[in-house]
Symmetry: none
Subunit: 236 residues, 2 copies
């Protein structure tokens, strides 16, 4: 699994730092490095909710170069992704970056975020392998730092194989087939014309699949349709 | 282009509210509704950066139902997307939801977010067409509210502007109500226990809505369910 190190350079806001620590835990970040932080770390702890231990474990250093040691790839992030004729400000957008990462995976990655006020300096930008930006509303594309971190980590989380437990298990193919079989039996009993029956059945089955029932949904539906089928059958 | 209304129910944190207003402008949200906000709006303005006018233009009301009026589709969000055997807590994950939206676009969407402390109540959850969750670290999947909003808006931002016009017309609310009425009548005839009947009906109706039937689908389904109902009724 891809190892991720988040590197914050000169972070200024304590709220942002707290929120970022929490987001790091939400999306399984391995390490947090703080380069010359300006934020109040004690205040940040308040906003980090259940990520206090993670924030306390952050590595605090004064040199970006050291924060990038030991990773396969370093990525600087910026809201100013493009400046005409400026060789440094030719960012790729995050969607493209994620595609690249999917095609050519690495084992470890450092994600570098700059100051809320002024971002990363040109000297800092030069040290990263990639410059990546989040494309947003042309009228106001500058995201708050902690929102920007959340979006980067979410995009990386998606390619790391989400193993979340806060989503219900989906109905299995067998469970869906069973449901369709019962629906088919009902259809045979309620629609005489064969051509019409075939067409109606197709729509009902398709609508069912499109709803992407969870396992729980599928069981309730199976129960319901079975009752319907029994009612019809016993009265024939 | 897809119109987006962000609805915050009982938002408690002023920082969160400010950050959210900013993110809304970053990702071109059309409307912000605040249902019984608890946050300090003046303090929130400080954190909204260049989104002050947008935040000042928020609609403040005391009824979630009113906040959902006039949109094609309403989506409740939750960190607790799954609870075994609970008919209400069967969320789909945001990636699946976005796929559905790509396949079957709508014109307007309300995104509902609950309180930082306790989320949305069961009564509130019931009012939305979909329940959607962001899958995250099983050890700590609960995102901060403003990070969660950012991720939702980012995912929607990616699909906006890609709205196709060569899509079939959707079933109208009336057509869906008719279908639900017939399903209700069938349910009364096949399930005796009242509590069980109520729960099963709720799941069947929700799965139907989630499938987002087209007008054509709705007509075929109405035909099918009517035939089923007739078969059951005439044989009683």
């Amino acid at each position: 699994m891809l190892k991720i190190r988040v590197v914050l350079v000169g972070v200024e806001g304590s709220v942002n730092l707290g929120f970022i620590a929490r987001t790091c835990v939400n999306f399984g970040v391995d390490e947090l490095f703080l380069v010359n932080p300006r934020a109040d770390l004690d205040e940040a702890l308040i906003y980090s909710a259940k990520a206090k231990d993670f924030l306390r474990g952050a590595v605090i250093i004064n040199d970006l170069g050291k924060a990038l040691e030991g990773v396969d790839l370093s990525v600087a992030t910026t809201a100013k992704g493009y400046s005409k004729g400026d060789a440094l400000r030719q960012a790729i957008d995050i969607v493209t970056f994620i595609e690249i990462l999917r095609e050519k995976p690495v084992e470890s990655l450092a994600l570098v975020f700059g100051r809320e006020s002024t971002g990363l300096t040109r000297e800092e930008l030069k040290q990263a392998d990639y410059l990546v930006t989040i494309p947003a509303n042309p009228e106001y594309p500058v995201l708050n730092l902690s929102q920007s971190v959340a979006i980067f980590l979410w995009e990386l989380w998606k390619i790391r194989g989400m193993q979340a437990t806060n989503v219900p298990p989906q109905a299995s193919p067998d469970e869906l087939l069973l449901l369709e079989r019962i629906i088919g039996e009902i259809t045979e009993r309620v629609i005489g014309d064969e051509e019409k029956r075939r067409r109606v059945y197709m729509v009902v089955a398709r609508v069912l699949r499109r709803a992407r029932p969870t396992r729980y949904d599928a069981r309730m539906l199976t129960y319901w349709f079975r009752r319907v089928l029994n009612k019809i059958s016993t009265q024939e």
